[in-house]
C-alpha cells in the first residue's frame, strides 16, 4: 500500500513537474506522503546536479580531445577561459612573426617584451602523424651519406687487397658451404682475389659455383683426393693452403692473405679489421663444435658441466680460439679449444656421427701480409721464415709454423675480445647422394598430387619397393615425406560435406602415390 502511494506520488510529481511546490503540497493527501515527495524531489535535484557537473566535466574533456587531435588546432594561445592570459606585455599581440624584425623593433623601443608567451600552450599534433615514406627514404640516404663520410675520414686511408684462400672439394655440402663463403666475399668492400684450391683436381662443378661470384678467382686443382678421416683432411688442407700461398708468391699478389675455409662464417667487420694488419695478425674464432647426434651432444654437455664444476675452469671452456692478451693489449699467449670433454668421442671419419673438433689453432684465425711470402720485399721482418725454402712435409701445422718468433703476431679485433668469425664443420655422409649442381633433372618421381592437399591422414604406402630405393636411414636427404597432420577443422558434418567436398580429400583416401627414388641420382663422391 505504502509502496503504491509512493509510486503514485512519484508519478504525480513527474506529471506536475512544472507546478509550484505549494500546489504540489496541496495535492497530496497526507503529511507522510508529502515528506516522501519532498525526498524524491531532493533526490531528483541531486541527480540533476550530479549529471550537470559530470556533463560539464566531460564536455570539457571532449572539447579538449576534439581540439587537441584536430588538424586545425594550431593555436598558440591559452584556451582556458578561467585562466588569465599571461602575456609578458601587450606588445605581443601585435607582434611580427619575423624574429629578426621583432628583435630590432624591440631593441628600438627598449622595452622588455617577448613574442614567447608564458602560460599554457596547445599541444600541436598534425592530422596524420605517420612517417612519409619519401622522407624515410631521404633520412636513410642522409644516414648513408654520413656513414660514408665517416668511413672516408676514419676508415682505411688506402685499403689493401684481400686475398682469400679456400680449400675445397666436391661433396654433398660443398655448394652449401662454398656459396655461404662466396656471398660473404662478394660483400667485401675491398679489392679481392679468391684463391680456391680443390682436392682431386679442378672440377667444373666447383668452377661453376665460384664463377657466379663475379670475383677475381684463381682456381687451383691438386691431384690428391680428399681423405676420409678428419685428421688426414686437415693435413691435406694445410698442404692446399700452402699451395695457394705459393701462387701468391709466384704471382706477387699484394694484399692481405686470409684463410676463408668454406665452412667459416664471417662477420663483415672482420674484413675491415684485417686491413689493420701490418705483417702477421690473428683474430679470435668462435668454435661451434657440434655433434651430429643429439643424445651425444646432451651427454657431452652434461659431462662438460661436471668437469666445469670439478675443475672450475670456466674460462677455458669458452668455445673460442685466439690470441690471449694482457691488460696492456700485448699478446701473451693463445686460447685453444678445450677438447677434454670430447675425449674419445670426437669424429675420426668425416661421416662419423660425433663431434667434429678443430685443430689447436685454425688457419682461419690468421691473416698475413702477402709480402711476407714474396721472394724479395722491402722491410720484410726477420722473424719470418723464408717461405721459399719451407718444406711443408716438416710439420707445418698452424700458420705460426711460418714464423721464427710467434710472439710478433699482432692480435686484432680489440685484442681478440671480438669474435669476428666462426668455425663449424658439418658434412654429410661420405656416401650420400646429391644431384649434380643441385639441379633436379630429371624431375623427382615422388609426387603428392597437388589436388590432394591437405596431406592425407595415413601416409600412403610407398608402392615402389621394387625400385632401387636408397633407405632413408642411409643419409639420402633428397626425399622428404612430410608428416601428415590431422586437421580437426577440416572434418565437417556429412551434410555439408556432401555439398562442398567435391575436391576435398577424404581422410581415408590413400590413392596418393609416393615414390621415393634415387636411382636417377648420380653417385658423387
Amino acid at each position: 500500500m505504502k509502496l503504491s502511494a509512493l509510486h503514485q506520488s512519484y508519478l504525480n510529481r513527474r506529471s506536475n513537474s512544472f507546478r509550484s511546490p505549494t500546489s504540489l503540497d496541496s495535492s497530496v493527501d497526507g503529511s507522510g506522503k508529502s515528506l516522501i515527495a519532498v525526498f524524491w524531489l531532493i533526490l531528483h535535484c541531486l541527480c540533476c546536479l550530479i549529471s550537470l557537473v559530470l556533463g560539464f566535466r566531460f564536455s570539457r574533456l571532449v572539447f579538449f580531445f576534439l581540439f587537441s587531435t584536430s588538424s586545425t588546432n594550431l593555436y598558440s594561445l591559452p584556451f582556458r577561459p578561467d585562466l588569465p592570459v599571461k602575456h609578458l606585455d601587450v606588445h605581443t599581440i601585435g607582434r611580427t612573426l619575423d624574429p629578426g624584425a621583432n628583435g630590432t623593433t624591440v631593441v628600438a623601443t627598449a622595452t622588455k617584451s617577448s613574442r614567447v608567451v608564458v602560460g599554457r600552450h596547445g599541444i600541436r599534433i598534425r592530422p596524420w602523424p605517420h612517417p612519409n615514406p619519401v622522407e624515410v627514404m631521404k633520412a636513410h640516404q642522409i644516414i648513408g651519406r654520413v656513414q660514408k663520410e665517416q668511413k672516408m675520414i676514419f676508415g682505411m686511408k688506402s685499403s689493401k687487397m684481400v686475398i682469400a684462400v679456400t680449400p675445397t672439394y666436391v661433396r654433398t655440402f660443398q655448394a652449401l658451404h662454398l656459396t655461404g663463403v662466396m656471398h660473404s666475399l662478394m660483400l667485401v668492400p675491398y679489392d679481392l682475389v679468391w684463391i680456391v684450391v680443390e682436392a682431386g683436381g679442378a672440377t667444373n662443378e666447383t668452377g661453376l659455383i665460384i664463377a657466379k661470384s663475379g670475383l677475381r678467382t684463381i682456381h687451383v686443382g691438386i691431384d690428391q683426393r680428399m681423405p676420409n678421416t678428419w685428421e688426414d683432411r686437415s693435413k691435406l688442407e694445410v698442404f692446399m693452403r700452402l699451395q695457394a700461398l705459393r701462387v701468391v708468391r709466384e704471382e706477387k699478389l699484394d694484399g692481405i692473405v686470409m684463410f676463408a675455409d668454406d665452412s667459416n662464417m664471417h662477420s663483415m667487420e672482420l674484413f675491415d679489421e684485417i686491413q689493420n694488419v701490418k705483417w702477421f695478425g690473428t683474430v679470435s674464432v668462435g668454435i661451434l663444435a657440434h655433434s651430429g647426434n643429439a643424445e651425444e651432444m646432451v651427454l657431452s654437455m652434461e659431462k662438460r658441466k661436471e668437469m666445469e664444476k670439478e675443475e672450475e675452469e670456466e674460462s677455458s671452456s669458452l668455445p673460442v680460439q685466439g690470441p690471449a692478451c694482457n691488460s696492456t693489449d700485448q699478446l701473451i699467449g693463445w686460447h685453444i679449444f678445450n677438447t677434454l670433454p670430447y675425449a674419445g668421442k670426437s669424429a675420426v671419419y668425416i661421416d662419423d656421427v660425433a663431434a667434429v673438433l678443430p685443430q689447436k689453432l685454425e688457419w682461419s684465425g690468421f691473416v698475413l701480409n702477402s709480402r711476407l711470402l714474396w721472394e724479395e720485399a722491402e722491410n720484410k721482418p726477420e722473424w719470418v721464415k723464408d717461405f721459399g725454402s719451407l718444406n711443408e712435409n716438416e710439420g707445418v701445422e698452424s700458420p705460426l709454423s711460418l714464423l721464427k718468433d710467434p710472439s710478433m703476431v699482432e692480435p686484432l679485433g680489440s685484442c681478440g675480445r671480438q669474435v669476428l668469425l666462426w668455425w663449424l664443420r658439418v658434412e654429410a655422409r661420405a656416401d650420400s647422394k646429391f644431384p649434380p649442381g643441385w639441379i633436379i633433372d630429371p624431375p623427382l618421381e615422388i609426387t603428392v598430387a597437388a589436388k590432394r592437399t591437405p596431406w592425407p591422414d595415413v601416409p600412403p604406402e610407398p608402392p615402389t619397393k621394387k625400385k632401387d630405393q636408397m633407405p632413408l636411414s642411409q643419409g639420402n636427404t633428397v626425399v622428404v615425406i612430410p608428416k601428415q597432420q590431422q586437421h580437426p577443422t577440416k572434418i565437417r558434418k556429412p551434410k555439408r560435406k556432401s555439398k562442398k567436398s567435391k575436391h576435398e580429400p577424404r581422410p581415408t583416401d590413400t590413392t596418393t602415390q609416393v615414390y621415393s627414388s634415387s636411382s636417377k641420382h648420380q653417385e658423387r663422391n
Binding site: L74, R120, G122, R124, P129, A139, R145, V146
Partner: protein, 415 residues
C-alpha cells in the same frame, strides 16, 4: 617542484667523480669558426683584463659547499668552478686598484633539496647580504654600484631567483644586480630575467664522465633523431601545455611511432654512447629554454636540433650556433621530420665538421684544471670584450642609482 625538468639530467651528474681534464683526440678535419663577434673562440684572455676576487667570509661559499658536496656535480656547478678557476688564474689581480672587473664569489644556487634540486629561496637575501658586505668594506662597489662587478647566477631563471617562470618574471632581476654583469645559463631574448650585457654560459656537464663514455669516432651514426627525457611533466603540469610550452609533448605525440625518431623517457646507461651514434639530437626547451643536452650534443658531435623560440645560446658571440645546429620553431614541431630530412646532406656534413672542432667542444666545458679555450676562458674573453668601461658607469660623488629597498619585503630580511 617545477625544477624536476632537470631531474633526469641531474641523474646523469649525480655520481661524484673527481674532475680532470677533458682530453680531445679529434682527427676529423675542421674549419675556422666565427661567432657574431668574429673568430674569437681561441682568443687568450690573459693580459687583456684583470679580475679582483673579493675575499668573502666562508659562509658565502666554502661552508655552503661543505654542507652539500652534491653541488659540485649538478648542472649549476659553474658558480663553484668559476671561483676555483679565478683564484689560480693569471688574470687574477690582488690589487683592486688595477682591476678591470670585480668578482663576488657567492654560491647562491648551492641549496639543494633532498632530491638534489636547487631551490633559490634564500638566494636573494644571501646575494643582498654579500653585496652589503662588499659595499661597506671596499670602496669599489659604490664607485659604480656594481657596473664593473660580475656575478655567476646559473639558476634556471638567472638572477630572477625563482624556479617558476611566472614568479621569476614577476620578481625580475634582483634590484641590487641591475647594474652588474651577470654570467648565467638562462638565455631568452627579450625576457625580463636576461638583461642586456649578460654573458650566457653553458650548463655544467661533468667533463671526465663524458670523456669516459667516448666511443671511436668511426662508429657509424645510425640513429636519425635521438632524444631522452621528459615529454610531459605530469607532477608539475598535470594539464599539459605549460611544460616546454607543449613542444616536448608535441614531439612525443607526432613521432612516438616514427622509426626515424629514437625518443623515450627512459635514460639508458648508454645515453652518452647513443648520442655518438645519432645524427640529430633534439634539444627542446623544458621549464627553461636550455638544457645540458646542448653541451652533450656538441661534445658528442650530434647536431643539436634546438627547439626553443628566442633562445640565447651560450657564447653566441664566439660560437656559430646557426652553422652547427638546426633551429626549429616551437610551432613547427609537428613537421620536424620534414624539416630534418629536407636538409641537404652537404649541409649536414658541414655541421658535423664544425661540431668536430675541438675548440668548439672545449668552450662548452668547465674542466678541472682549466684548459685554454674552455668555458672559463670564454667568460673572460666576453668580459674582456666589454672593456674599457664607459666613463658613464662611474658615478659622481653622492650619486645613487640603486634602490636598496626595492623588491619583495621578504628579500630585505637579513640572511
Amino acid at each position: 617542484m617545477k625544477l624536476s625538468s632537470c631531474v633526469l639530467i641531474f641523474l646523469l651528474c649525480n655520481t661524484f667523480s673527481s674532475i680532470s681534464a677533458f682530453r680531445l683526440s679529434r682527427s676529423q678535419p675542421t674549419e675556422r669558426i666565427s661567432g657574431s663577434a668574429g673568430d674569437v673562440l681561441e682568443d687568450d684572455p690573459v693580459g687583456r683584463l684583470k679580475v679582483f676576487v673579493y675575499e668573502l667570509p666562508s659562509k658565502y661559499n666554502k661552508k655552503i659547499l661543505q654542507k652539500d658536496p652534491r653541488c659540485l656535480n649538478h648542472m649549476f656547478a659553474a658558480e663553484i668552478y668559476m671561483q676555483r678557476f679565478l683564484l689560480s688564474s693569471p688574470v687574477r689581480t690582488l690589487n683592486p686598484e688595477e682591476a678591470d672587473w670585480f668578482y663576488v664569489p657567492v654560491y647562491t644556487t648551492c641549496d639543494l633539496t633532498p632530491n638534489g634540486l636547487p631551490l633559490p629561496f634564500k638566494s636573494p637575501r644571501m646575494m643582498r647580504s654579500a653585496i652589503q658586505l662588499i659595499a661597506s668594506n671596499w670602496p669599489y662597489w659604490n664607485r659604480t654600484e656594481g657596473a664593473d662587478h660580475f656575478f655567476v647566477v646559473p639558476h634556471d631563471f638567472g638572477a630572477c631567483f625563482h624556479y617558476q617562470e611566472e614568479k621569476a618574471i614577476g620578481r625580475g632581476i634582483l634590484p641590487l644586480l641591475q647594474r652588474a654583469t651577470l654570467v648565467q645559463t638562462f638565455g631568452q631574448r627579450n625576457h625580463v630575467c636576461l638583461k642586456e650585457g649578460s654573458i650566457t654560459v653553458p650548463p655544467y656537464a661533468p667533463p671526465q664522465k663524458m670523456q669516459s663514455h667516448l666511443i671511436p669516432e668511426k662508429t657509424p651514426r645510425s640513429i636519425f633523431v635521438y632524444f631522452r627525457g621528459l615529454f610531459y611533466d605530469v607532477g608539475n603540469d598535470p594539464e599539459g601545455g605549460y611544460y616546454a610550452r607543449g613542444a616536448r609533448a608535441a614531439v612525443w605525440e607526432n613521432f612516438k611511432d616514427n622509426p626515424l625518431f629514437d625518443i623515450s623517457t627512459e635514460h639508458p646507461t648508454t645515453y652518452y654512447e647513443d648520442m655518438q651514434r645519432a645524427i640529430f639530437c633534439l634539444c627542446p626547451l623544458g621549464w627553461a629554454p636550455w638544457s645540458p643536452r646542448l653541451v652533450e650534443a656538441v661534445i658528442f658531435g650530434c647536431i643539436p636540433v634546438i627547439i626553443a623560440d628566442d633562445i640565447v645560446l651560450p657564447f653566441a658571440d664566439a660560437i656559430p650556433w646557426e652553422d652547427i645546429g638546426v633551429f626549429v620553431d616551437e610551432k613547427d614541431v609537428p613537421y620536424l621530420d620534414t624539416i630534418l630530412t629536407s636538409i641537404p646532406p652537404e649541409v649536414i656534413l658541414r655541421k658535423q665538421r664544425l661540431l668536430a672542432n675541438p675548440s668548439m667542444k672545449q668552450a662548452m666545458l668547465f674542466p678541472q684544471p682549466a684548459q685554454p679555450g674552455d668555458a672559463f676562458h670564454q667568460v673572460l674573453n666576453g668580459l674582456a670584450r666589454k672593456l674599457p668601461h664607459e666613463r658613464s658607469v662611474y658615478l659622481r660623488p653622492g650619486e645613487k642609482l640603486l634602490n636598496w629597498t626595492a623588491g619583495p619585503v621578504a628579500d630585505l630580511k637579513p640572511w
